[in-house]
Symmetry: D2
Subunit: 338 residues, 4 copies
């Protein structure tokens, strides 16, 4: 049983059905009937006017968002362990034409208002330093932590005060919302977020994520984002197959149901080894203290996962699981501490 990552899973049946239903002739690119419904579907979900684009990958969603928020000479405030810093092969530098990642520490890969405010206060004016123009956080974070609405709003206040665009990397946005039990709006535009990478693939999609813009600048930024999507090769010839997936996710609530299943599975595992958790489990990832010997034992029992530094491993649950299906691993974990 794989706990490597939620991108190893197959596709939700409802998404596969939506792809099949979209398999007929229509206009190319984003001129089709499915793409035309995206704005409305996401506007309903977020209870406000949303501009929505499909893009190929989370990397593209994040980086196009940043390119529309930050000029090439600007800086992007983000966590030092953010995915855009550590795992995107230089994509933010590519899309922003060399904007500077300004990294900050923070427990659980969460940015704090204090850290951001201190960095802003330390910047000199003038042209010798890149001016911070974007703030990017990950929801849920790289350690599976969820920002509460109040935490997002505190960062959003800072961003607005300093005229800084606010981006949220929501590769696991659904898992965070499932944990928080709030409205999607509460941790996004109501808290000052301007642009959201809305994850789909890790949550049961096949190919394609959504890039969403909120607020008064949404239309202008989305129009610019469409330029970037084209020039970065992300405007697919047959966009309806992506749009159909996104619609299948959000129009019937599948996004939240899938995330709840994954979270439930994660909680079942967490309950087995509370003393070994390196971070509170709030989404679908567990970071677990394990000796090399313990890890080897689990693997020989048929459970696969990645090491995460010395003496630790990462377990990722997914939409196709629930508490029952991960019971074997829960039992095996529990058996480590008899």
């Amino acid at each position: 049983m794989h706990f490597f990552s939620d991108n190893t899973t197959p596709v939700s049946p409802q998404v596969m059905a939506a792809i099949a239903a979209a398999d007929r002739a229509d206009h190319g690119y984003d001129g089709d009937a499915w793409s035309a419904r995206l704005d409305a579907a996401f506007s309903t979900l977020f209870e406000t006017d949303v501009k929505a684009l499909w893009v190929a990958s989370g990397t593209a969603a994040n980086c196009i968002a940043l390119a529309t928020l930050c000029p090439p000479y600007g800086g992007i405030l983000t966590h030092e362990e953010a995915h855009i810093v550590t795992d995107e092969g230089g994509a933010p530098g590519f899309f922003t034409h060399g904007a500077t990642l300004m990294t900050l520490p923070g427990e659980g890969a969460k940015l704090t208002p204090d850290a951001v405010a201190a960095k802003l206060a330390a910047m000199r004016s003038g042209v010798h330093q890149s001016p911070p123009r974007a703030l990017s956080i990950t929801q849920a974070t790289e350690y599976g932590r969820a920002y509460t609405p109040a935490e997002v709003a505190a960062l959003g206040d800072l961003a607005r005060t300093h005229g800084i665009g606010f981006h949220m990397d929501g590769a696991r946005f659904a898992n965070a919302v499932a944990h928080l039990g709030c409205a999607p709006a509460d941790v996004t535009w109501r808290a000052g977020v301007d642009a959201l990478s809305f994850g789909c693939v890790k949550n049961g999609g096949m190919i394609g994520e959504a890039l969403l813009y909120f607020g008064p600048d949404a239309a202008a930024r989305a129009a610019e984002a469409k330029r970037w999507r084209k020039r970065s090769g992300h405007l697919f010839s047959k966009g309806r197959y992506l749009a159909a997936q996104l619609l299948a996710m959000v129009e019937g609530g599948l996004w939240l149901a899938n995330a709840r299943a994954a979270n439930e599975a994660a909680q079942a595992l967490a309950a087995a080894i509370p003393a070994r958790l390196l971070h509170p489990v709030e989404a679908n990832e567990l970071f677990v203290r394990l000796t090399a010997g313990e890890a080897a034992q689990l693997r020989s029992d048929g459970f696969d996962f990645y090491d995460w530094g010395e003496g630790a491993v990462r377990l990722v649950t997914n939409w196709s699981q629930d508490a029952a299906s991960v019971a074997p691993l829960a039992a095996a974990l529990k058996a480590l501490d008899p």
Copy 2:
């Protein structure tokens, strides 16, 4: 009946079946079993060692190829009506970090060795002019013309002599090969081509094209291309769904069968109006002299297509058609010149 473009068509049933067959857990990105077979599948097809990558779109395939062949300060020799010049929203400039498109004229959107040689001869040495480092042609061209093996080889000789990388945009490569009746190798590496964008989507795929490298530098260039694929956001989380499509295309000959069907449909239309053709029909596109009145008449009869400048239209056939299925349009065209 749509003749807008071959990207309006649905997906080949065999491709859809391959996607369904790939719908199970495997490693992420390109670590899966399907992606692992790409090199072998394309090596068989091209009768040589090929390095193959899936990418999201033809734009990405073209531009990543160019980025690996041409430095940012270099120039790319290409036709003034090439897709990379006119229709990619600045993507070549984005991926190459500002390399210069050096455009040349040529009948039927074909580059001639004479035009290329003359341009090379006119370049001054020194740093004031961008040195040509890549040559890019489209097979079949933007006017549906196919370069013969000899024509490609003549350009390939020039490229090799001048130390210039040779790229072929093969969005409709299958249609060209179907017309020429040659081996794929004959119009690519045997003729000096270093990198090929091998089209899949227009020919019955859903999402994803192949970028192929040939020759002694293939491995190094493909390794670099994988860096570019990641940093441009084209490394999908679940790459197996792309790899499966490409394999379905090439392992059983579907790519050629589909292209032959489209070409046959195009020939059936061409035969109806030989005197109105603006370019010889060698692939699956027809450029037809039509008055505005004639075009309106055809549209009212249920045939859709794009205008192509004053007094002309473009008709594109596709893999899902054949001579029989386009007979109604052929008849309607024939009726224009009673």
Copy 3:
């Protein structure tokens, strides 16, 4: 005697004196007393509020201007023989992050409103083509032709109507104004120009050109240009030595006096060979029909110059010359057609 280029000349004595006068301690970068006077000096010269920056070279002035007028996904309308197209080693692509040069023909390297309007009309909307966002002309042109105020204004009207930024490459702006006898304002902001590269080095300076912004967006664009100047390495540690040169040029009218001298020399040469001129002589460049034998004869007489294609040469006069000092070449030219 050299007629290669006006950049082979020494520095005007007044400029050299100004450099010497600036040789004392002051704040670094552009925090010095000389740099602080630039806005005022150019505002006086141009009879309007001007924002002025020194930069290292004409290439930098042109390209920073373009970067502030055109987004990376945009297009720049310009002449196919413009210096930014043919002689800047890809610098426009570098500074604009890959914006597309959209080249147009035109006699004497001059753009016509008709050509620009036709190109604009031919562009399709949507993201597949780069939207034109800047228009760039050279004053005097690469063939030594001057745009009249009315000609500039006609282009300026087009630019304003289409929301396009208007840039003028004025490497030889002084020579054009000297020929036209108009106010500098007449061929710049009064005619719709937003940004001007004001040449200094070819006209007697040592190092450094001025980049000027006009109009309501001047302050915002200049602020952005200062970011670009820094990140492109053009913010010199001791900027006072550049500022002093520019002030020496413009505060006492040296720029115009020098240009008049160069133009007078050019006219003296032109008068000797009216039938051999390939372009009207309006600034300080002559393009002259000469056989290879004639060119060799002149060179053996001690006159140096560049060939300019088959059967033609280019002669460039400069600020240190006048009709008298070029009389020997004038005589030698006249002697070719006894």
Copy 4:
């Protein structure tokens, strides 16, 4: 008396004389007689074959060096307080097309082999992380510390072992060498350095720094650097005025004499307040613990300098000073601790 920075100083008389001597007609760009002597002059100084280019600024020297050592998808290992990180307005991202700055801590702004080795060991292979391709250190560092030959060589060994290009930002290289008393070769190519930004302006020049390449790849890298110099607008029309400055610096030993004077001045100040020094004084910068009141007192006495965080100031001496000329400040400092 200014102690803001060594870029506030006037120009060395010998440099000014060299500029005057170069004030005559010659070929443009770098085709002149002075530029032609650069390779030889620096080869003599460094006791090996050197390829040397003049560029406009230290920012440009650093960034062109990095662009020739590191691909756009690569990473640059450097100190978190390096000038290229904190004070170049995003220039490294601009010139490298978005390469990633990988910052490391280290006392006195010095990188240690241990820190570099640990970072290299922590990098995962594969395309998700940018591969380190360049290592950049500052000599003397941003805190006025000098790397010894052995310290540079230890880093050079690491760079060579990992196939990483090694760059040295030598804005104050002369001050470091003056302190170390070694041959310039000992802390550069003999210790594995591939590219050196050789500072001139802070050390008595007017405009222009030298970018030097060492080793078997020197010629190829310098040829590429010339492309970058042109496309970044740093190829001056009248390069002889820059080349002449550099020659004046190195051909007669002025570079070292000037640095010794500045260092001597710094030592004189350091001797006055040994207990207040935040870093050992090894070049021409002092970082001094001062209360706000003490700083105010000194300023009212006519000494100007920058604050450097809470309770500290920076004092920079320069080529035009010596122990005697800074005696008044030394006395004032000494008086703080009676």
